[in-house]
């Protein structure tokens, strides 16, 4: 397989015109995150950078995991409702102390409610801060484009450039439109929902001591995502494979399942999903997904039920979402 000459943006986004230098800058970003790769314990195995290491791909491994934080469901003695309530915890540190953000499975969401406190919309994202920072940095149009996208995604033309930046003028991922008043990309940092964290996790998993099988792996995190990545990468590396993330490298919403969602009259809920990013997509994979009952139906998301239970928290829907990354395994060419 020929070397990757330019890493693609997630879902092949084209937020700036195709000729923009941003796309080379993004390649450099990914190339830097991947670095030279790592060597595995089995000769020939490792985690590789497809821009610098030529590997003949032998197979694809799709890694999926649950979007709702696993640990909340497995450790919550007060029951599932309390787990879902705690799952709504996402915000900047003024509101949510470090380490207390619960949306740690590389899926974050923002729950919008009406004056009656009923849910009207839940917006999910798997977009990374790296992408938005890189886009903002890109000259000459990046900052302007970021502002445009914020206005567009949040449906608010009044968002100002100043509200997205720090006092020094740098892009502020923890701006109010990405924390308390909406969502655009990941902010959770304990553990970090970043592309860097995901790639480092995979790269680190290729090495380490050998085990006979997955049962023998100790020290795995209580999340769904981290063990999923670690186990699969280790398993492939144990078999002597070189492993990497497949193009376009990114973290995606891999599926959503509304089986058993019902309207207030008990009939099946309509298809209320809307893929917002990438533009034009109607199904998975997605980067930004909205669940919202169209105006005119006469009810809102909070009037729906899942398996007979009213939707009170966005996390009840997050539980029905899966997050996905694509992996490749092969041998050095």
């Amino acid at each position: 397989m020929a070397l990757v000459t330019r890493f693609e943006t997630p879902a092949r986004l084209r937020d700036l015109p195709p000729g923009s230098s941003f796309y080379d800058e993004w390649h450099d970003e990914i190339d830097g995150l991947l670095g030279p790769g790592t060597s595995g314990a089995v000769p020939g195995s490792g985690f590789y950078n497809a821009a610098t290491t030529d590997v003949t791909v032998a197979g694809e491994r799709v890694l999926v995991w649950m979007g709702f934080p696993r640990e909340l469901l497995t450790t919550q003695p007060a029951g599932r409702r309390e787990a879902f309530r705690q799952g709504e915890t996402r915000g900047d540190r003024a509101v949510v102390p470090a380490g207390m953000n619960t949306q740690v499975e590389y899926l974050e969401w923002f729950t919008s409610r009406n004056s009656a406190k009923k849910i009207t919309r839940v917006t999910f994202t798997t977009e990374t801060p790296e992408y938005w920072k890189a886009l903002y940095r890109s000259r000459p149009d990046g900052a302007r484009r970021v502002l445009e996208l914020y206005r567009e995604l949040l449906g608010n033309p009044a968002i100002t450039a100043a509200s997205l930046t720090t006092a020094s003028g740098a892009y502020n991922p923890l701006n109010q439109w990405n924390t308390s008043r909406g969502i655009v990309h990941y902010i959770v940092d304990g553990p970090a929902n970043t592309l860097e964290a995901a790639l480092q996790l995979a790269a680190g998993a290729a090495g380490g001591s050998l085990v006979d099988d997955n049962y023998e792996l100790d020290g795995l995190a209580a999340t769904s995502a981290d063990p999923r990545v670690v186990i699969d990468v280790k398993g492939l590396a144990r078999r002597g494979f070189q492993v990497t993330a497949a193009e376009p490298i990114g973290i995606y919403i891999g599926g959503w399942d509304d089986t058993g969602f019902t309207k207030p009259d008990g009939s099946p809920a309509g298809d209320y999903w809307r893929v917002v990013r990438p533009v034009g997509a109607t199904g998975p994979p997605a980067l930004r997904l909205v669940y919202e009952v169209p105006a005119g139906e006469g009810f809102v998301v909070g009037d729906l039920s899942i398996g007979g239970r009213p939707i009170e928290f966005g996390g009840q829907i997050a539980e029905q979402l899966t997050v996905l990354v694509n992996g490749l395994a092969g041998s050095r060419a």
Binding site: V64, L73, T75, D212, N214, S224, I231, G235, P268, G307
Partner: protein, 608 residues
């Protein structure tokens, strides 16, 4: 991937019909092989010799081993006592219903579904039936006595028979007996909601006109939910019939209205232990941790593994090769559960239940009709499309050959001898090569000499959609992460077929074809939502969970606003071929969510 092949959308061709019938005949022609690791006393004849089918070879194999090597086992190294497990003394064992642990596993069963019409009378019914409820102690003692008698007499069926009864209650049933709000302390929301309310969440049809819609169920629909289910299980039809008469009389006397009843029987002849499609069922069950006494090695679930090396911890994880050990709190309320982050460490006990419910268990009942012709017609058609023998394709759908031999151990052809080896037929991993186990000495058993399973991380031998890989991905990582999470999803299956078999019937009459047949699926667990519902909704019904590759083609259900098509990505030499399944061969026709209480609660609480 090649363009999708769509099956079940048109009329079945004559050629497909012929192939389907041939495959069904081949499945039925299966000859069971008595487990080679059974210690056969001289007078114990193979089942064919005495004209009877071997209905429970698994039980008998273990019985033979357990008894014949008892003396030697006492001298052999005892299995590791780490992690330390609790003793369940006789008094405690007498309080736990026996179909939960160790399970009735009788060939002839009968289920009554009742509605309470007179609360005071119903309480009398509970007091009357209380002495007849079979406990964990009674069932374990029977198994022990049965083993001893078999060894002493040398007879496969030494004449020791039992007929057992267990009971469980729906939320409505408990509230009818104890009053409104009496279930408020149960933290299991799905039990409180009931199966009918959860039906479409489980992928059942949303269209009321479709078979399988809850409004058409024989029991457990919105208007015919049962308050009480009584399970009768016997070694003989006469034993069952006698107990059925007794239960009927009591029910009539004490104000119980019969909503529905279902007889269940192990399939006859060579199909004993198989479900209606023709595949051996129930091969894989978890073992439950705990000891019957403080005597070293006196475990409730027999242990056979010894460490192969100083760092071999498989004896801590498995009772026998492929049978994981689970903490009893996975099935009994209030007992220590699995640590969800670790493969064998003790976790905390659940607390979300009323105190009287401790050591009870949730019972899931699903009456599942099986359309055997539809299944095999699909198999025949799909097999022809991808150039694979029908039985081989069907084995890929199931993950086991009709005999029960796992495709992971024998990818190319069925192997009845392997199927009969209880220490080999469930010993395999998916992601890594399986390794020979070190076992304590078992007289007459030379060990597992079959080819070990080879790693199949990408699902090319046992596809990710295979029923057994969906229901238990074992060592494979899942959408919930690590294998220790998979352990907390496991259930104790206690199902039994109903209806007359059609597999292998050369010229079935129209009447036979039209008759209902299927499985009374029964399972116990300490939750419904995190075990049965999880396995159903999250894995069987999903094309991408726990791993990408398609829906469970056996039990998977899908209803996306009326669209019920499922798919599987069939592995072929030239890459996966997507087969879209528009037909259905498993249809829910009833059931319910129940709670099987501790036995004393029948009189002290529910009947008080």
């Amino acid at each position: 991937m090649s363009p999708a092949l769509v099956f079940g959308a048109g009329e079945e061709s004559a050629a497909v019909g012929r192939e389907a019938r041939a495959a069904m005949a081949e499945v039925a022609a299966f000859t069971p092989v008595l487990p080679k690791n059974v210690i056969l006393p001289q007078r114990l004849r193979p089942p064919d010799d005495d004209g009877g089918a071997d209905h429970a070879e698994a039980d008998r194999a273990e019985a033979g081993i357990a008894e014949a090597d008892r003396a030697e086992a006492e001298r052999a190294p005892v299995p590791p006592e780490e992690p330390a497990e609790d003793v369940y003394p006789e008094k405690v064992r007498r309080g736990i219903q026996g179909n939960i642990i160790p399970g009735f596993n009788k060939d002839h069963q009968h289920l009554f579904f009742y509605r309470i019409t007179d609360v005071a009378a119903a309480k009398k019914f509970l007091r009357v039936i209380r002495p007849h409820i079979s406990s964990m102690h009674e069932v374990l003692e029977f198994v022990r006595a049965h083993r001893a008698l078999r060894l002493r007499t040398g007879l496969a069926e030494p004449g020791l028979e039992a007929t057992w009864v267990n009971i469980a209650f729906s939320r409505q049933g408990i509230e009818a007996l104890m009053g409104p709000g009496s279930c408020d302390e149960f933290g299991e929301l799905s039990f409180l909601d009931g199966l009918a309310a959860r039906s479409t969440y489980l992928g059942d049809p949303t269209d009321p006109s479709r078979p399988g819609h809850r409004s058409r169920w024989k029991v457990g629909g919105p208007d015919n939910e049962a308050d009480i289910v009584v399970i009768v299980a016997s070694d003989t039809t006469t034993g069952r019939a006698g107990k059925i008469r007794t239960i009927r009389r009591w029910a009539a006397t004490y104000g119980l209205k019969l909503i529905f009843e279902q007889r269940g029987d192990t399939l006859p002849g060579s199909l004993a232990g198989h479900e209606h499609f023709g595949f051996k069922d129930g091969v894989s069950q978890p073992g439950v941790r705990g000891k019957a006494s403080s005597t070293p090695g006196d475990f409730i679930t027999p242990r056979y593994l010894t460490p192969a090396s100083a760092d071999d911890e498989r004896p801590r994880l498995f009772a026998k090769p492929g049978q994981p050990l689970l903490w009893p709190g996975q099935f009994l309320l209030g007992e220590p559960r699995q640590n969800p982050e670790h493969r064998y460490q003790r976790g905390t006990a659940a607390t979300a239940f009323p105190s009287w419910a401790a050591q009870g268990s949730y019972l899931v009942c699903r009456r599942l009709n099986q359309d055997v012709n539809a299944f095999w017609s699909f198999v025949a058609e799909a097999a022809a499309s991808v150039g694979r023998p029908p039985i081989s394709l069907a084995a890929a759908l199931v993950g086991r050959w009709p005999s029960g031999a796992p495709v992971m151990r024998t990818p190319s052809a069925d192997d009845a001898v392997l199927a009969g080896d209880l220490f080999a037929n469930n010993h395999f991993l998916f992601d890594d090569d399986s390794r020979p186990s070190s076992m304590r000495p078992i007289p007459g058993y030379a060990g597992d000499a079959f080819a070990q399973a080879r790693a199949d991380m990408l699902g090319r031998v046992c596809p990710h959609f295979s029923h057994i890989r969906k229901a238990n991905p074992r060592d494979t990582s899942t959408d919930l992460g690590k294998p220790s999470d998979t352990l907390i999803r496991m259930i104790l299956r206690r199902g039994i077929p109903f209806g007359k078999p059609i597999v292998g019937v050369k010229r079935p009459s129209a009447k036979l074809v039209s008759q209902e047949r299927g499985l009374m699926f029964l399972s116990y667990g300490a939750t419904i939502e995190d075990q049965f519902e999880f396995l159903t909704r999250r894995w069987a019904n999903s094309a991408i969970q726990p791993n990408v590759g398609g829906h469970d083609p056996l039990i998977g259900q899908r209803d996306q606003r009326g669209d019920r098509a499922r798919f599987v990505d069939l592995p072929t030499a030239s890459g996966p071929v997507r087969a879209v399944l528009t037909g259905e061969w498993v249809t829910p026709t009833g059931g319910g969510y129940f709670f099987a209480p501790p036995i004393d609660a029948l009189v002290d609480v529910l009947g008080a």
